[in-house]
């Protein structure tokens, strides 16, 4: 029942905010998201200790064998933690801005959280698909109503592009679903795994491509990424955080949950090419990030590069790759949300994100400097930060898959340092510019976001075993299907 609570609570609270538009929307949303986090953590601990699977199953469309089934295992546990952990911070980042009083905006964030949680918790593939698509609605409105310049065409492109990809997923899903045994077909993941394992090689390969296109667009992966930089740049700060921090993980999660156990044969056929494409994306994104002038766009490309490595690691099908990707999802979410928030803080004060106009902020704000450096170090995967654990495992898995590809993928640690350090230097080091000379120090609310996130970066690098051990049994189970 807790499962249902975790799913419905943000949905109800969000809908309440959307409809009633209460005056104290900010406190309500923040308090609610914290309650949600606490309940989710309790639930995760409970699920870890429980002997059986923690699940909640009700018939949904019994005639078609579809169930409203939610469950928790080690894999989606990490993502539930990610989405419930980040949302309080994301809501916290609206403090000191006019958005904190905007019930509609906060309501949209919460409903989006609910949709994504639904996708992560779903045990039924069509339920997953339902939530996967449902999460598009709130984010579309967030961008379309609150975005910057050109928001209409860009949000439209984003919406249609991702929707277009999902259709392939739907077709593939229906195909496998219709092949399931029994009077009434079923879309339970376990059943789908079993069904997919007896499909012919040709079917597996085609289905792999159909599924992968959907997730590749969502992640996004080279060359399906062109919606991303524009969308990240135009979306309001919190929208960007939701997108990059949580939403793109639906794509990577989908790969782990569906593609990896269902189509190992398909991956064996196509995986090499897809891994190469991912690695190309890693380098391509990193190289482009080097010359970016807009901080948000730079981070968008860096995020794109990170995701490419995750996808490459997962598709090697090794436990290291899958675990690394899971861990990297968590770390990347924390780091990128923190970094986008710092950009937002800078933009609020200086009205610009152009690196050329910034500089010298470190003289006026010590905590912002520390925060930016720590989060960036996480992003360049320095040992003892959370980014290293994931990147180490991912690179190792790719390296074990193929030495050459591994070495090429490894160049990302050099390029990552190049663009990240450039961003640090141009934005906060050097002499204060016209717009940064009167830079105000962080307010308490802002510190309350940046400091915990920075601490999480370090903690995640020192004790990764907490998360890795949590997901290990589920990954082992997954490996069973791969064989």
């Amino acid at each position: 029942m807790y499962l249902l609570f975790v799913l419905l609570f943000p949905l109800l609270l969000g809908s309440f905010l959307l409809i009633a538009k209460p005056a104290k929307a900010f406190s309500l949303a923040l308090g609610g998201s914290i309650v949600e986090l606490i309940v989710a953590v309790l639930l995760l601990c409970q699920a870890k200790e429980a002997t059986g699977v923690t699940e909640f199953i009700q018939p949904w469309i019994p005639e078609a064998g579809l169930k409203f089934a939610l469950f928790i295992d080690g894999i989606n546990g990490v993502l539930i933690l990610l989405s419930t952990l980040l949302v309080p911070f994301i809501i916290g980042t609206t403090s000191n801005s006019e958005k904190s009083a905007d019930a509609r905006y906060l309501g949209l964030i919460l409903t989006m959280q609910a949709a994504m949680l639904g996708a992560f918790m779903a045990k039924d593939a069509f339920l997953f698909y339902f939530f996967f698509e449902a999460s598009l609605l709130p984010i579309y409105f967030i961008i379309n109503l609150y975005g910057g310049e050109n928001r209409n065409p860009i949000s439209f492109k984003f919406f249609v592009y991702t929707l277009f990809g999902s259709l392939f997923l739907l077709i593939g899903l229906i195909y496998v679903y219709l092949r399931t045994p029994g009077e009434i077909p079923s879309a339970d993941f376990e059943t789908l795994y079993q069904t997919a394992s007896i499909l012919s090689i040709k079917e597996q390969s085609l289905l792999f491509l159909a599924f992968f296109v959907a997730f590749a667009i969502k992640m996004p992966m080279f060359p399906f990424h062109t919606w991303q930089p524009d969308t990240y740049t135009v979306a309001p700060a919190q929208g960007t955080m939701m997108l990059s921090g949580i939403m793109l993980k639906m794509g990577t999660y989908g790969v782990i949950r569906m593609i990896v156990p269902m189509f190992p044969v398909g991956i064996a056929n196509w995986g090499g090419i897809v891994i190469i494409l991912s690695v190309v994306g890693v380098l391509y994104g990193s190289i482009i990030a080097i010359q970016q002038k807009d901080m948000k766009r730079l981070l968008a490309y860096s995020s794109f590069a990170h995701v490419g490595l995750m996808s490459a690691g997962m598709l090697t099908l090794s436990p290291e790759g899958i675990q690394g990707a899971l861990y990297q999802m968590l770390s990347h979410g924390i780091n990128i949300v923190g970094l986008f928030f710092i950009v937002e803080v800078i933009e609020r004060r200086t009205k610009t994100r152009e690196l050329a106009q910034l500089g010298g902020i470190t003289q006026s704000s010590y905590f912002l400097t520390v925060g930016l450096i720590v989060l960036s170090l996480g992003s360049v995967a320095l040992p003892l930060t959370n980014g290293f654990v994931g990147e180490f495992l991912l690179l190792k898995s790719v390296f074990d898959y193929d030495i050459t590809i591994g070495i090429i993928a490894g160049i990302t640690i050099i390029l990552g340092a190049v663009y990240t350090l450039r961003m640090i230097q141009k934005s906060i080091f050097g002499n204060a510019s016209k717009v940064t000379s009167n830079f105000e120090d962080l307010t308490i609310c802002e510190k309350l976001v940046i400091i915990p996130l920075s601490i999480l970066v370090i903690v995640g690098g020192i004790v990764p075993s907490v998360i890795l051990n949590y997901s290990q049994p589920a990954v082992d189970l997954l490996s069973k299907w791969i064989k």
Binding site: Y161, P383, G406, G410, L421, S465, Q472
Partner: protein, 626 residues
Amino acid sequence: MSSALLIPLLPFIGFLINGLAFPKLPKQIAGVIGSIPPLAAFALSLQLFFNFDGNAQLIPIADWIQVGELSIPLALQIDQLSIMMLLIITGVGTLIHLYSSAYMSHDAGFGKFFAFLNLFVFFMLILVMGSGFVTLFIGWEGVGLCSYLLIGFWNQKNSYGDAARKAFIMNRIGDLGFLIGIFLIFQEFGTASYQEVFEAIKAGSGTNVGLIAFCLFIGAMGKSAQIPLFTWLPDAMAGPTPVSALIHAATMVTAGIYMVIRANTLFELSPEVLHFIGWIGLATAILGAAIGLFQNDIKKVLAYSTVSQLGYMFMGLGASAYTASFFHVMTHAFFKALLFLGAGSVIHAMSDEQDIRKMGGLKSKLPITYITFLLGTIAIAGIPPFAGFFSKDEILAHLYHHDMIMWSLAIVGSALTSFYMFRVFLVTFHGDFRGTEHQADHLHESPIAMTLPLIILAVLSVIGGFINLPAFVGGNEFLAHWLSPILPEGSAEALEVHVASLEFLAPLAAAFIPAIIAIQIYGSKKSVPVADAEISGVQKIIYDKFYIDEAYNFLFVKPVNFLSSFFYQFVDFLVIDLLVETVGKIVKSSSNEIRKIQAGTIGFYVFMMVVSIAIILAWTLKSWMF
């Protein structure tokens, strides 16, 4: 808790306190909090040293990463090598902390500086105490980070920031090699712990050892500034001088040598790689010394000298002279830290002037600095019985038996070293004062907190050589015996050197003759290096560092920047996005076209209806008929 665990922990605590309380903590307290941890760590290291029973000791901390069959524990390993490194790091580190408390006392970022120094000590200790390659890598990247933070300490100046970035990125290039080496080790042995890997190698497993050794050495190239990844080290002099002394002379840059010595079992099995290391070391030694000949920035000279000395250490490793190389690491830590701190004292006195052409005649104003700098110069030049003589001579002796060509080239490098060091010493301290009057008024000997470390290091530079005095001059070769358990068998055996041989006399000549020439030119004749504009010919090429930076810029930086713009403006917008947009546009324009049919003309609708019915009819008839 084992006291060994406290050794890295203390600096980390110091870092936390100073880092978190930085803007508010008064400077005196920050200085004390920053300096106590390395001192305490030094005391603990001494205790370890004296209580050491000869057996390597493993101190597990935690299971760090455990995924599938991969298991990476965090653990510390206390053995002969790490204890020696501990003593150097904490010993020299303590002195430099003390020195910094005076040198940086006017700086607004005083607390931050100590926080970074402590963090550096922490990572350096992790580096040398780690029990496996991954732990080594943690320290390895960590010291790189601190190096970055400290080079760019005065971050308002963009050129300093550029130098810091260059250091970090060049190190990262090496780190990639190192990381690949680690992956290969995992593939080959399934573990990265030293003991297990080396046991497996000794048991005869491992086919890819040469490749592993080569990849690890790439890491060492980056960290220890060897060709082709050396250009960051001279630029790193942008950092405060104590940083140059601690990080870029005494400790961090020797991490590469530490690593090779640590993994000697591995390197011994790949003679080609050792050979390669030797030649890279030789080339770096000569190149560094050559560029150092005509530099006029006192810190730049020392930086190139460091590059060159590191080259010597690698040369020694190439000849499997691990003890000799380590010996040189140690003495180099003493005299190079001394020289840097002396240079710092000069710069401090000269109100931040670094150009030796604007100094001169400082010996009467800065007596302690003068004497200690002289002792350091003699030590590095290799004049007996100072520390540098013994360690360098030991490397040379091994080279003599290893490869005559390398040996003779190394002698040339040694001669260059002696020349440029005496040159910089004489131009700085002798002759007439060439600074401004303002500087002359401010000339003063540094406070005791700065001179005391100088004196201690000077004493060490003089007597440091006796720790491994060869048997034929009556020493007991302490270091060689101490390190012998972790080195390949037989490598600790003493070399027989005849006092009257070429082998013994050539290095002496290489030390003395250039020194005398330098004294002739810069001492007696009081000549001063010419201004930048007047430098010409070969000297100009050397002065401009053989245009290596420019070449790298042209070969790597520019193409990457070009690619970046190309990918962004052309591939992303004009190829990929255009394709996507085109699909959208096709849909849009075709919908526009089709929309026109729905024009509301009933006649047309009816016509289409009739035509459609006719088609359907024809279709049906066709299937009837055939």
